[in-house]
Amino acid sequence: MKQFNIRTLKSGALCLVLASAGLLTACGSDDDAAKMASFEITVTNLSANQPLSALAALLHDGDFKAWDIGGVASDGLEVLAEGGDNSTFISDDAAMLMTSASGSAPVGPGASDTLTVTADLASVMQITLASMLVNTNDAFTGTTGLDVSELAVGDSMNQALPIYDAGTEANDEMAGTIPGPADGGEGFNAVRDDVDFVARHPGVVTQSDGYSSSVLDESHRFDSPIARLVVTRVK
């Protein structure tokens, strides 16, 4: 390897070497572009009063599930679902991960946000998306292992997104435990004081429904689906 001549490298490999050394930012040709796949992921918040934390999107080249019903939430999912911070969720997920993206801000009720993920075309491509319902203890929405391998350029697929409960924080709805604007309380706490498995969320009770200790009111209730997901392959 010490003897190799850099001039013999194909342009694509040269690109990679230079890009990884931080020397080159724009690199590519029509040939490279034809081997890429790019997906626009749009989430529309359909709730009454549950802002969704900054979206986290992952693109995998294998069958990957970031959570499953009955499974214990990963640390990254716990941090996301309790506090809306997706940084661990995105980074603790290296296996089969092609690329990831994060929204820059929460998505309010009625609002939408779009992320784009782009990677080398692979025979299997799956998208995972997750976001916290911030006026809850540990509710999140999303989809995981959504297969987009067969999606043609220009085509879209839709999903109505359900609400999951990370099972890592009891749904006590009490002051100081909810990070959203309804409370401004604590987000992530490493203590797991709930069932410690992922399931569908039972909904919130709220003080309007007779739970006097709750900081939530009737506007924070929700039903399924909480959001609409549209994935469009743009390249």
């Binding site: 019903i69 399931a199 569908r200 909904g203």
Partner: protein, 246 residues
């Protein structure tokens, strides 16, 4: 398929008639025997805090059904919905139905799954599934007469919770009502209270309908309900069914 071999007979002789009829036979058999498929059925309890009593997984034809939303529950369905007993439903099932009772060998706990493998549907082309949801008065998870696809593949169906309409949803445990059958037979999670005075004393829709959910309260030793509003509520769907047609 019948007329073609007869014409062939006149044109080409008897041997051709016989060989032409052979491939026609399996088709004739299929049409008279109908369906006969092998399927796997996986049922997942999607809820965080509710148990399912022993499931009934039934394949049948359109000459019968296990339940029908909008209709009054049969006595057998009532036994299942109020007490978790599927024996009356099995006894009432027609002879040609193929049933699997209690695949989970007991309760199906929150977020757990159970699998029925290699179920031979016989002459049946419809799939129904029921189990009581605990703790409720007469709530059950249900799939009514889902058409089993003829094409091999994996199919996913989400199930809602129904109310049998046969018992007042007072949300009091049997232990709280002195053993009366008008209450909830149990809260397997061990997370219910006592001393509830009763959420309601009437049931306005006495036909099978979508369950409005538990109300519950946050008092473990009083209030109107023995159930916990933070644990025993749910949003539909409450179960996921994955059917693999082989």
């Amino acid at each position: 398929m019948v007329t073609v071999p007869i014409r062939t007979f006149h044109q080409r002789g008897q041997i051709m008639k016989i060989t032409a009829l052979i491939p026609a036979l399996p088709i004739a058999l299929m049409s008279s025997m109908a369906f006969a498929q092998t399927i796997d059925v996986k049922v997942t309890n999607l809820t965080q805090g509710l148990h399912f009593t022993p499931l009934l997984v039934s394949t049948h034809t359109d000459s019968s059904n296990v339940f029908e939303a909008g209709s009054v529950a049969t006595a057998a369905l009532q036994s299942m919905a109020e007490g978790g007993d599927i024996a009356p439903l099995l006894a009432a099932s027609p002879a040609e139905a193929v049933n699997i009772g209690n695949p989970a060998q007991g309760l199906l706990a929150p977020a757990m799954s159970t699998m029925v493998s290699d179920l031979n549907t016989g002459s049946n082309d419809l799939l129904s599934i029921v189990a009581m949801v605990l703790p409720t008065n007469d709530g059950f998870v249900g799939l009514d007469s889902w058409a089993i696809p003829s094409e091999a593949g994996t199919y996913t169906v989400y199930l809602n919770a129904y109310d049998a309409g046969t018992e007042v949803n007072d949300e009091r445990l049997n232990t709280d009502t002195g053993g009366s059958e008008d209450g909830i037979p149990g809260a397997p999670g061990g997370d219910a209270g006592t001393g509830g005075t009763g959420v309601t004393d009437s049931e306005s829709n006495t036909s099978i309908h979508i369950h409005r959910g538990n109300l519950g309260d946050t008092s473990l030793s009083g209030g109107t309900s023995d159930l916990d509003s933070r644990i025993h509520r749910w949003l539909n769907p409450v179960a996921k069914v994955v059917v693999t047609v082989k």
